[in-house]
Each structure stands twice: as C-alpha cells, then as structure tokens.
Amino acid sequence: MSARDPEKSPPPHVDRKTRAVVTVDATDLPRFAPHTHPLWWGIAGAVAIEAAVVATLLTSYFYLAAQNPHWPPEGVDPPPLLWPTLVLFVLPMSSATMWWAGRGSDAGRKRQLAIGVTASVALACLALAFRSVQLTELDVRWDAHAYGSILWVVTGFHFTHVVSAVLGTAAVAVLAWRGYFTPERQLGVVVDTLYWYFVAAVYLPIYLVLYWAPRLL
C-alpha cells in the first residue's frame, strides 16, 4: 500500500478544500479471486433461497399429513424405495466427481477438470433416468389427492433442479474441454460446483421425508 503523491492523482470530485491521499493501492490486488469472489456469495444466496423453498415444501408435506387421518390415503402405498435409494447413491458420487474436478481446476490440471465435470453430468443424467422410471411407477397421480400432489411436486422440483445443474455444468464442460479455465480464471467452475453440492445434498432431506416418513410415522 504505497502512498502516491496526492498532487498527481485526480483531485476528488468534492470540495477542493480537502486533499486526497491515496492510502490503498489496488494495483496489485488480484482481479481473479475465484474462491472469494462476490459471485460465490451470490450463488450461496441462491442456495439459501432454494433451501428455504425446500424447507417450506417439506413443512407443507407434514402439515397436509397432519390434516389427513390416513397418510398416504387409503389404498395408496408409499412410493417404492429402490429407485430413490439408487439416486441417493448416484448423486453423492456425482458430487465427488465434481469435487475432484474442482481440485483439478485449482491445480491447473485441465484434463482432470474436464473429465470430472463430464462424469458428474453423466452421473446426474443417470439419476434423472432413475427418477423418470420412478415417476412412472408411482402409485398415485398428482391430481388424485393432496398426497399425490405434494409427492409429485417435490419430486418434480428436485428433478428440475438436477436438470438445471446438468445444463449449467454441461456449459462448463464445453468450456473445460476447450481449455478455457485456469486456476485463476475458474469462477464458473467454483460457482457451478457450489450449486451442484446443494442440489445433491438437498436430496437427502427430500428422500427421508418422501420415502421414509410415511413408513415410519
């Protein structure tokens, strides 16, 4: 932080009675700071919003359950566990490959980054496939009963978020394969991985509420 000669800096745009003294020199401050960049905080904010939405949906699930003497309603079974549980394993795996990709990006290993994000996209697509199969096997439609409605809507909500994470990461993957990212210039990677972790992690409470709560409570 060198003090520059105030006579050489443009005088402040306020009254000429005060003189300007440079006390902070930003010349050598980094213009790339992917791990502390404001956009990281922005995505964290978006994650907070989405988490609040999920919390509201899950609370609504329990509220509706409390209003109904039978939950699931008579004649409807809780959804089968196989496909959701498979997704419960696939999504964390995709987070692991994303983390591995991020490490590669930090270290400048462009190939590791590109392979990692591609693997995550592939695993997420697999999860989407499982989810699609699961939806066809659901016992109740969204328009039959509030139980069906909340089940389909929460599932659909998470599905849409996985799709958005896949689309965003696919864009990142394209740039990664073209070698665009460097350890400095990797803001896109950092924020994308943050969002990915959220989409994968939020599946756990959803899984527990939708698939285990009706069985246990």
């Binding site: 745009h13 003189r19 404001p38 919003i49 209003q67 309603p73 009963h145 210039r185």
Partner: protein, 637 residues
C-alpha cells in the same frame, strides 16, 4: 438524466483530466432508445425502480379513490360488485407488491452502493434483469384491469375463493403469475444487496461504521430471502391447483384451505416489515443530516433492526386469530406480536433523544419525518391492540384493521419514502425540489391522511367489515364514509403536489451542488447527479461520518490503482472491510433484457399451459448462456 458532459470543475492537471475522461467513458451508459435496454449501472437501474414504483403508486392510488367514491354513500352504484372487487384486489396487490417493495428496493439500489463507497453493485446485469422482470410483470398486472382479466379474490387470494372451482376466469392466474415476477425481482435484488453490502464496502468501513440505512437494507434483504420462498410455494401450489389439477387446497381430496393461509402469512407478515425497515433506515439518515448530529445508540439501533427482522417471522398467526386454531397457540403469537413493540420503541426513542434540543433544519424531509412519528406511532399502538386475541376477534376483517395498516404503512413507509425523495432528489437529479410545494404537499398529505383513515377505526368498531362494495343506509355509516372519501381526495392532492414538484424541479429546479444538506455519508461525496463511475477515486474511510471528518482534517483517503479502461471496484473483507481483491464488472449489455423477456413469456405462458414450464426452463437457460458466455478479450489480455 444521463450526463452528457463531464463536469470537470476547472481542473488544472491535464493528466488527471484525461484519466477522469477515460474512466467516465468506460462507465458511461450508452444514450439513445436502444441503448436504454443495455444499461447496467446501479444508478440507472435504481432510478428506474423508483420512477416505475411511483407510477404504480399513483395508478394504485387512483384505484383507491375509485373505491372511496363508490363507498362515499350507501347502496351506491358507481361500481358494480365485480368491478369493485377487482379494483380492490388490484389496489391492494399493487400497493404491496408493485409499489412498496420495489420503491424501497429502488432507493436501496441507488443509494446503498454510493453510501458504502462502491462503484456499482456486485451483479449489475442481474440488477437490470430484475428490473425488466418487474416492469413487465407490473405492467401486465395493471393492464389486466381494463382488459377485464383482473383478479377479484383480494390481495391475499384466500382459497377456496381463489381456487379453480370459485375463480373461474384468468384473474387469479394473472395474480399468481405477477407474484412470480415480483418474487424473482425481489429475490435477485435481495441477494445482490447482501453481497454488495458485505463485500464491496469502502476500505475501513467496518460493519460498525456502516450507516444505519445500509444496516436496514441488509436486514431487509435477509428477510426477503427467508420470507419470499413461502409465498413462492403458496402461489406455485395455487397455480398448480388451477393449471394441472393438483389438490393442495381442496379439502375433499386431502388438501387444506388453511395451508394457504399459513404459507401466505408466513411471508405476509415479514413482508410488511420488509417494507418498513428501509423506511426506518431513511428516517435515521434524514435525522442525522438535519440535526447535524450522530445518532444516539448506534448499537441499539442495529440490534433493534435485526430484532424486528427476526421477531417478525414469529407473528404470522395473528392474521389467523379467527380461524379456530387452538387458543394456546394463538396466545403464543399474541405475546410475540406485542413483543415487536420493543425493538420499534427502542428506535423511536433513540431518535427522539437524538433530536432532543438539536438545531433542526426544517426543510421538507424533516417535516415528513415528523409526520412519520405521529402516524407510525399511532399505527403501532393500534397494532399492539390488534395483537390481543379477543380484541382482534371483534375488529379483524373490519375497517379498524384497514385503519391500522394504513397508519403503519403510509406513516411508517410512505412518509419516510417521501422524506427520502426530497432528501435524495438533489443527489439523483442535481436539482433541489421546491420547498414551498414541499410544505404544501406535506400539509395536505398529513391532514388528508388523518381525515381518511382515522374515522375508519370508528367504522370498524361500529360494525363495518372490509372488502364490501357497499353498505345499507340503515347502518349509520354514511357520514363517516363521506368524511373518509373527502379526506381521500385531499390526500390525493397532497401526493399530486409532490409529483408536480418532482417533475418541475427535475426540469427547472435550482442547482444542488454535491452536498446541499452538508450530510456526512458517502453518497454526498460525489457530484449531483453522481459521476458515471460514482467516485473518481473510491474513498477509504476511518470513521462513521466520513465527510464531516474530512472537513475537520482537511484531508480524505482514497483508493488508487483501479483501472481506467475497464469497470473495476474494490472488494473488501466482510467484517472490517480490508482490501481483498478487485472485481471486474460488466459493461452495458442487452442480455439481461432479452433473458427477462424470455422468462416473462414463459411465466405468462404458464397461465395457459403447463408446457411453458419446460419451454421456459430451456429458453431461460439459453438466455443465461448467452449472458455469461465468456467473450474475448479475456481479462488478462
């Protein structure tokens, strides 16, 4: 009000003149009609939010006048019940969603970055996107009235009345869609305000040196993030009940009518404090400047703001006291609702003590602040009354409540907003507003407001419910209603005077100079209107009233080393604002507008077909890719 020429203030130093020219060029918002759609500077966007919200305020106020005309006498047939119900719904919805929040957002977007010494906000393009979404959504919502498509289920849209069985036309769908627009706009602004305030403050502006206004905005932004999701879920569930036959609110199929109320009011109550807190921040700013004193109790004021923010999330059931919930539960909410009197009271008394014995500059902003005190305190007191379960069971859904919320919202939010308008108008436009018109406007508004809304307390107690399009002559409500209507026109005249004042002053007002009020905060440390880059050199601060201490020491600290050929602003650490990095900001671009149009088309299409959801996701994605795709030259080149 774009700066066509640079005001170089007679600079002698040629080299720095060149630098200033260069940096102003880099930060310039392109002129012209097409250029308008590419602006991203927070001053441009903030101004747009403010102007648009005030236009919606005036339109919505006219709707209020129409309602009052209808209610001026019993069994009036100026408006039939259907038209009245639609006007009533649009009035309430527009005031809450299209005026109050965006106006506060607009002031925050304009002033907060200046007050913290930044050059712009953290995500300028997102800012612009949020504005266009608001503009489009709000315009469509108002257009629904003349097109006969307006909602008619009240601003709070209770089910089953707003459900597919009882609200057959598109009105409620327009309502849910508009909510979606506004929530996107508000949430993007909230995230951006938080990040800007936490990361882009001037070096040395640690959290305990931040102006109270900025604290108010910060708390408000957090509240938006945690409250809005509830109404997002509510409006989406309603939209789905209407569009794809889900059964969330259908009691015959496992749904619950009360679920809507819980979800709506969990948002709805914090919402009114989201509207109030920025206004309280404005009051703090005005009091400091017009007494030329620091505020008493900075820490108490900050804690009070945070306290209001947090407590406000635990009150929502007081809107549901008559729904038959167990008395024990309601008693909890009764105590919590009364508790908000503590942080509110602390702020009121901190201000009174600050004002005590000060040499006050009695300009128009200070008059509006006085009006705020009288009206807001009265509204707050009726608020403590309606917190009581038994009392509320009599006055709930009557004109008493209408009186209460207009007192706290108009007194607590609109009066300070007017104060802020008169206070910051010189900064935004470079011209002073007329004091004479300002005083008349204040007087008419204050008198008109009380004539309009005070009698409503009595009307509620003697039996007049809310949301009625007319009433019987035998009730004995005639005279009071006539008085209310008369007052409403005086109130309207008061606001009209400010509108006229603003327009005339913008065109021909007296030149303001940088700091006409001798205020201490950083927004006054630049030209009026601000330079394109806000600050030729970003300031560094050493205490909480920077301009006053610069005057005392004759010297100011600035940041050097930022580029003059691209847009840069300093990033500092969260707690004590030490320099950390430099953020390179985007310049003018049309992609926020394009993406906003795409998303708007998707939201609107949802009224007609669920497939627009899919179309919307993919086209919005395309828009965002075009927005963010890196373009040469890359940063290092």
């Amino acid at each position: 009000m774009s700066r066509a020429t640079l005001d170089l203030r007679g600079r002698e130093d040629e080299a720095s003149r060149e630098e200033l020219e260069q940096i102003e060029r880099v930060w310039r918002s392109p002129p012209g009609f097409l250029g308008w759609f590419t602006h991203v500077n927070h001053t441009n966007i903030g101004r747009r939010f403010i102007v648009t919200s005030l236009v919606f305020f005036l339109l919505s106020g006219v709707l209020g006048l129409l309602m009052r005309w209808q209610l001026s006498g019993p069994l009036n047939d100026f408006l039939d019940p259907d038209t009245y119900n639609r006007i009533m719904t649009v009035h309430g919805t527009a005031m809450m969603f299209l005026f109050a929040i965006p106006a506060m957002e607009g002031v925050a977007i304009y002033i907060a970055p200046l007050m913290i010494g930044a050059r712009d906000m953290a995500f300028p393009r997102l800012n612009a996107f949020g504005y266009y979404v608001y503009l489009i959504g709000g315009t469509i919502f108002f257009l629904s009235l003349p097109l006969g498509l307006a909602p008619a289920a009240g601003w709070f849209s209770y089910v089953p009345l707003s459900g597919p069985e009882f609200a057959r036309d598109y009105g409620v769908d327009i309502w849910t869609t508009m909510i979606t627009f506004i929530e996107v706009s508000a949430l993007t602004a909230a995230v951006e305000l938080i990040v800007t305030i936490l990361k882009l403050r001037a070096p040395g502006m640690s959290l305990n040196r931040m102006p109270i206004f900025v604290w108010a905005i910060l708390v408000t932004a957090f509240m938006i993030i945690f409250a809005m999701p509830s109404v997002i879920v509510a409006s989406s569930l309603l939209m789905m009940d209407r569009l794809i036959d889900t059964q969330f609110f259908n009691v015959d199929a496992g749904g619950s009518a009360l679920l809507w109320q819980h979800l709506f009011w969990f948002f709805g109550h914090p919402e009114v404090y989201i509207i109030l807190l920025p206004a309280l921040g404005i009051v703090s700013a005005v009091i400091v400047t017009f007494t030329q004193r620091p505020l008493f109790g900075y820490t108490a004021l900050v804690l009070a703001l945070v306290g209001v923010g947090m407590v406000s999330f635990g009150l929502w059931v007081h809107h549901m006291y008559t729904t038959g919930l167990p008395l024990l539960g309601r008693t909890f909410f009764m105590a919590a609702s009364a508790m908000i009197a503590i942080p509110s009271g602390v702020q009121i008394y901190c201000w009174i003590v600050t004002l005590w014995g000060a040499r006050i500059r009695w300009a128009t902003p200070m008059l509006w602040v006085l009006g705020f005190f009288a009206i807001f305190v009265l509204g707050g007191l009726t608020g403590v009354m309606v917190a009581s379960v038994p009392f509320d069971r009599q006055v709930h859904d009557t004109y008493f409540v209408v009186a209460h919320f207009h007192y706290v919202l108009v007194g607590g939010a609109v009066f300070p907003l007017m104060a802020g308008l008169y206070y910051w108008f010189p900064k935004i436009t470079g011209r002073m507003m007329s004091e004479r018109l300002g005083r008349w406007s204040f007087a008419l508004t204050f008198v008109g407001f009380n004539l309009t809304f005070f009698p409503m307390h009595q009307l509620g107690l003697i039996g007049m419910p809310r949301r009625v399009w007319t009433y019987l002559p035998e009730r004995g409500w005639d005279w009071l209603n006539m008085l209310v209507t008369f007052g409403a026109f005086i109130l309207a005249a008061g606001f009209a005077l400010t509108a006229i004042n603003a327009i005339r002053s913008a065109l021909r007002g007296e030149a303001a100079g940088d700091n006409p009020w001798n205020a201490p905060t950083l927004e006054w440390a630049t030209a009026s209107p601000p330079l394109n880059c806000n600050f030729a050199r970003q300031p560094a601060v050493e205490d909480d009233h920077p301009i006053w201490s610069w005057e005392d020491t004759g010297q100011r600290a600035v940041v050097g080393g930022l580029s003059t050929t691209r847009r840069e602003t300093l990033v500092t650490t969260l707690l004590d604002a030490r320099p950390q990095s430099v953020q390179v900001l985007p310049g003018p671009t049309p992609w926020p507008f394009v993406t906003a149009v795409i998303t708007s088309v998707a939201f609107l299409g949802l009224i007609f077909s669920p497939w627009f959801f899919v179309i919307g996701v993919f086209s919005a994605f395309a828009g965002f890719v075009l927005w963010f795709w890196p373009r040469r030259p890359y940063r290092e080149e």
